[in-house]
Symmetry: C2
Subunit: 371 residues, 2 copies
Amino acid sequence: MASTLFGDCSTSSAARLLPLHRHTTISLLFRRLLPQSLPRQLGPSRTPTSLRALSFPYSTSSSPSPAPPAVASLAGEASATVIDGKAVAKKIRDEISAEILGMKEATGVVPGLAVILVGDRAESATYVRNKKKACGHVGINSFEVHLPANSSEEEVLKYISEFNADPNVHGILVQLPLPSHMNEQNVLNAVSMEKDVDGFHPLNIGQLAMRDREPLFVPCTPKGCMELLHRYGVNIKGKRAVVIGRSNIVGMPAALLLQREDATISIVHSRTSSPEEITRQADIVIAAVGQANMLRGNWIKPGAVVIDVGINRVEDPTSPRGYKLVGDVCYEEVCKVASAITPVPGGVGPMTIAMLLSNTLASAKRIHNFH
Amino acid sequence: MASTLFGDCSTSSAARLLPLHRHTTISLLFRRLLPQSLPRQLGPSRTPTSLRALSFPYSTSSSPSPAPPAVASLAGEASATVIDGKAVAKKIRDEISAEILGMKEATGVVPGLAVILVGDRAESATYVRNKKKACGHVGINSFEVHLPANSSEEEVLKYISEFNADPNVHGILVQLPLPSHMNEQNVLNAVSMEKDVDGFHPLNIGQLAMRDREPLFVPCTPKGCMELLHRYGVNIKGKRAVVIGRSNIVGMPAALLLQREDATISIVHSRTSSPEEITRQADIVIAAVGQANMLRGNWIKPGAVVIDVGINRVEDPTSPRGYKLVGDVCYEEVCKVASAITPVPGGVGPMTIAMLLSNTLASAKRIHNFH
C-alpha cells in the first residue's frame, strides 16, 4: 500500500523535484495542502486523544533512552501509528469555533485576521483563499489587502500600520514571498508584536529562545508539530530529539520548543557530516529539510516518533496532476521502524493553518483580556 | 602539577561548593576573576595565533568526525594545548586601545560605557571597579550610577532612559543581580537595543537565533568562547559541538553562535539522561553548567577542544583564602584526552570583559559610522 501511494524511496529519492517549488519555503508549500483530500492511512486510524490527558506519567530522566511510549506498534509486522494531522486539526478547529462563540457571547468581540497579499503568485492566492475559508468556518473575521506586484514597500508598510492600529484586527499575516524589490525583514518587523500571529518577529523568537521568557506567539508549523506530539501523548521531557533543518520558520523554532519541554536537542543541517548517525539516536525526529524521502529506514531508531514537515513534489506520470507529494521521510521504510509517524499529506500540513487560527484567537483573548 | 592546582577530581567533584555562590550566575562569577593572578599552565604556553589565519582549510563535510586540527597534542604523554585566555584577552585589549586611539584622532569621539549598580553586593562592586579599570586601560570613558538597594525600579529606568539619550554613552550595562523587588526583565528591556552591549535583549537573541539576521551585540561570555576558538585556529564548520548548560547568558547563545558557524550542535542540560555519552561525540565542548569538575576524562573524545566556562569555588583549607576555583571540567583528567583546553582561572574568564570592551567600541563605531 505504501508503495502505491509514496513510490519506492530508493528511486523517488533520486526523483527530479519539480522546479516550481525550489524557491518556495516549506511553509508556503504547506499552505497548498489544504484543499487536498484526506490522506490514505498506512497504519490503523487512531482517534487522537483529547489534549494532553494521555501524556504518560512515568518519568524518563533516569532511563537512558527508552522508546517513546504512548504510541504502540502493531502486533505482527511492525507498523507505526499514523499521526493523523488532518483529524487533529479538525478537532482543534472545532475547539476554536466553540471558544470564539463563547467569547462573542460574553464580550461581543469577534477575532479578526488581516492578510496582506502582494503580487499575483497563484500559490499565494490559493493560500490566502484557504485561509479566508478556514477563518470563516471557525468564526474569525478576515480582512484582506491585495496589492499589485509593483507596489512600493511604503504602501505595504502603510497597510501594516493601519492594521496595527485597527481594534478589529488581532492578527496580521504578510503573505510570503514578497516581491524581490521589498525588504522582507523591514516589512515583517513592522507588524506589531501583539499581532504577529506568524511568530516570525525576532523579539518573539528571542523570547522563545530564552528561559523564563514567554513569546507572545509561536510560529505555526513548529507549534503544530508540538501539538501533534502532545495530543498523541508523546513524552518529550528528557528525550533525545533531533531536528533536521535549521530554517527560521520551522527547524530552529521547533528545536527551541522541544528544548523548552526539556528534550535534549541536536540540530542536523546541510553541513552535518553524519546526519543519519545522529538521527539514529533520536527518540523524536522532526524532519524539515525539504528533500524528498531523505530519511531512510536505517536513519531511525526503532520506536522513535517521526514528524515529517517536508512537502516535496516529485514527478509522477501516473497521476493526473503529473506529480505527487512526498515528505522528507521515506514513509514506506520508516513506518516499519518508527512507533509513530505523520503522513504526507495529512500530517503536519493541516496543523499549520489550525495553529494560525489558534494564534489569532489567543491574540484576541489577550487583547480583550478574556480568559 | 595539575593536582597541585586543581585537586583530585574524584574528591573535588564531591567537594562542598561554598554557599556564597549558589545564587550567583556564572557570568557574575567571571567578573570576580579579573584581579586573579595568571593561571599556572599545565601544557606548554602557545602564543595565540592572530585572528583566523590558522583556520585549517580542509573541508570536513565529507569526513565523519575527525579530531579538531589546529591544536596538536604533545609528543610523549598526551597533554592538551592550554588555551591561554589571559594572553588572548590582553592582545584583544591592545587591539582595542589602538582602534580607540585611531577613532579619537579621526573623529574626536571617545567610546563610553555606563554601568548602573544597585545595592551593596561586594561582588558586584568589585566587578564594577574592575570594569572601570579595564575601560580606563583601553581608553573608554566610563560612567557609573550607584543607587541604594531600596531604590525604586522607576529610578533605575530613569537612569537607563538618560543613558539611552546620552550621545557620550555607547554601551549600557545593568549590573546583575538586581534587588529582588525589581523586575529584571523590565529593566533589561529598557536598555536601548543600540547600546545593549551585554547582548541580553531578546531582540538581539532573536536575531542571533535567526539565519540571515545579524544581532547588534553578542553576549560577552559566549562571544569570548568563540574568539578563543577562532584565535587558536579551531575549525568549527561541520564539527560536532556539544554545549553543556542552556542558560540565557552562556549556554543558549553559545549554541546559537556555534550553529551560525555551521557546527552541528547538541545541547545537554540537567534533564539529559546520558550527558557523558552525548558529550563524548563532540569535537568541540563548551561546558557552562556551574558544577565543579563535572566533566571527567571519559566524557571527552580524544582530540576534542574543551572550553570550560564554569567557575566554581570549592573549599581548600590549604589556601589562604580557604577556597580554590575550579571549572566544570576535571582539568587534570581532561587535559590528557583533549587536544586543547581552557584553564580555570585564566581561560574564558578574562575574555568576558575583553568582549564587553569590544562590544562598546563596536557600538561607538556603529553610532558614529566609523569603520
